[in-house]
Symmetry: C2
Subunit: 410 residues, 2 copies
């Protein structure tokens, strides 16, 4: 590949025929995604491609199972009616997975984001080797099951609780479990190769990034872009989609909004700084405020009991965390001017409406002070499966942007 | 244009021949920008385009004055040596302008960012009509002068002190001067047409956005990307370049980091909210802290006198503002993971090293607490001309991304 394409030039140089084909193919898939029922002639008109190019690509896509021909509607008009096409995907499956500090989730979905199978398990061992082993076991089992059922598995997306080197699938650092440089992607790939499933591509990414891609790739059209997904768990992270692209910063650490300063010289944060948003919104802070923090971490059983018992102290802790989230929402709003902010994660699930209402109320106060309408904030579409389903979405996202992969091959 | 190209599909569909030509042309210009001395054969190899396509485009670019042939170096080797090409631009000029609440600056530059002429004036009248009139007068005069000198004026970029609707060139709202919906771009275009200069395109954008583009478009290669430019003036804004593209958010209000919350329930801000960063870092806050705020705004003469007299109170005010900027730098760093943060604007010019050092010291404290290296922070390359030169850069930016303009023509 020419180096101009990879450095300052984000656009493909159209002299590269492999790239041209990948772009044209993706363009037709995207047109069909937003407008089912288009004929080959419609696709040619909308894409600007010649009819013969459209016919060739369509033939390939039908053969691969991406596209199906619908029945022609019989009308009274004379002449042959054009055949409507649609994205099919009944033979195509995506796999998504999430590795958290204590849980594994693996899902399969259609290319439209319909969840087909969910498999969830507690981590048997919390060390990198044990966790990777269990993750690989669960993913491989689900891939195998789909293939046995006659499905083609297009790709696997894995969400990890920290910064990830996308190209290699290495989890660089997971602050909440203390892991450093764990080659999750390479291990999964090696296992797939060894059991004869090496043709299935693997993509690894940070958990909040995947959840964001789940919202855009499996969301309604037109897609909300810019979109910021705020993941409120043990840590506090975000996934940011800008201009149809996942934004990850210069080194993969972009979107670490949990470590923006909410209170100057405030509470100590797990990162070593003082006053980070994570120290006010994260589950750790709530566990601490409610006496549910043990030496080895959050006592979820105790916290759940106290939530169920509707203890005022617990409600107050979630409301305080929600108010802090509200300030962060204001900051995300003014910084990104997004079409949508999405919030998800364990804290949202546990804190429920009091937590969310407290956040929205603070955001609305800021908006009222400035005399403008507050931005759209919604809850994660796939709730506790946001990252796992986002993994499936991320595999599709990667397949629908083959030019990026080609550009990375230098 | 097909609608898929404008909505969720940021990539051109290569069936559009006009677009293909624009992309190929730009690709060659970009290759020449990063590597002078390349021959047609080198360009063909690096772009993947055929030699005949490269020859055709090169011929056109030479005719238009973008590219020049260098002398062939005579070597002892046999055979005809390939002719080295370079971006020329000796016949090509860019015009940039900045309209501030009290000053007008107009510059001309080469396509390499060398500043050729600077014209600065105090606003005679602060109302929209008077200011636009004076701006148009100064810009038209400079365009005319360049044309009289045999130059071709490629485009004009105008920086405005507020949110701008890019497509129409309308200044939507300038909080510091209270202007709303001023059609600066249309007025300038109408005047250019009326004096026979209608062929020169006009581009309007927010002042901090232009300064950011000045850093990337006229900067060294490889370009720092992501780059965040923080403009510290009466207000506090930012320009953000991500993935070779100016990021402006869903409605053009992206990057308004001056209205992120620095102190919850803190000082009242001009926007109506409490505790915004602008209320701590902006010139207004410094003028207030030093008793240099009059009914009609900042008393710059008094402030300058007190700076020259090295009054400790004034130094303390700039240091306090710098410390607040340091917190904002920390937030920008963790949010964007940029390759470079650039700071500029009147507060940097007036506050000098004590202001900058205070900011960097706070940022370094955060970095040390987290055990990581602080990001690169540098001062604006074009100092007080950052926005005006950025205007010239923005005209070039727009010309080098013709596919975006084509996609916007729907």
């Amino acid at each position: 590949m020419p180096d101009a394409a990879s450095s300052s030039h984000p656009l493909p140089i159209t002299g590269d025929q492999r790239l041209v084909k990948a772009i044209n193919r993706t363009a037709l898939l995207r047109l069909l995604r937003t407008g089912a029922g288009l004929s080959r002639a419609d696709l040619a008109e909308r894409s600007g491609l010649t009819r013969s190019t459209v016919s060739l690509i369509t033939k390939e896509l039908i053969k691969e199972g991406w596209v199906a021909e619908d029945d022609v509607l019989v009308t009274r008009a004379l002449g042959r009616r054009p055949t409507p096409l649609r994205l099919d995907g009944s033979r195509l499956t995506l796999i998504g997975a999430e590795l958290t500090p204590d849980t594994l989730r693996v899902v399969s979905t259609t290319i439209h984001g319909e969840v087909l199978q969910v498999n969830q398990a507690t981590l048997r061992q919390a060390d990198p080797d044990g966790a990777c082993h269990q993750l690989i076991e669960m993913v491989t089992e689900l891939v195998r099951r789909n293939i046995d059922q006659g499905q083609q598995v297009l790709g696997i997306g894995v969400g990890l609780p920290g910064a990830v080197e996308t190209s290699s699938g290495v989890l660089l650092f997971a602050p909440n479990i203390g892991w450093r440089r764990v080659a999750v992607g390479a291990r999964l790939r090696a296992e797939l190769v060894s059991v004869g499933l090496g043709q299935v591509p693997v993509y690894c990414q940070n958990e909040a990034d995947l959840a964001a891609i789940g919202e855009t790739e499996f969301g309604q059209h037109p897609v909300d872009d810019p979109l910021v997904y705020i993941s409120c768990g043990l840590g506090l992270g975000s996934g940011i989609v800008l201009g149809d692209t996942l934004f990850t910063g210069a080194t993969g650490a972009g979107g670490e909004i949990g470590h923006t300063t909410l209170h100057i010289d405030g509470r100590p944060c797990s990162c070593g700084r003082l006053g980070c948003a994570e120290a006010y919104v994260g589950l750790h802070a709530i566990a601490q405020a409610t006496g549910c923090l043990k030496d080895d971490g959050v006592d979820r059983a105790a916290l759940n009991r106290r939530i169920t018992a509707r203890e005022p102290l617990v409600r107050a802790a979630f409301e305080a965390a929600g108010q802090s989230l509200g300030v962060l929402l204001q900051n995300v709003w003014t910084t990104f001017d997004p079409r949508a902010i999405v919030i998800g994660g364990e804290v949202v699930a546990l804190g429920g409406q009091p937590f969310v209402d407290a956040a929205l109320s603070v955001l609305e106060t800021y908006a009222a002070q400035a005399g403008v309408a507050a931005p759209t904030v919604r809850l994660a579409r796939f709730t506790e499966l946001a990252t796992a389903v986002g993994g499936a979405a991320y595999a599709l996202y990667s397949l629908m942007r083959p030019y990026q992969a080609l550009q990375q091959q230098i």
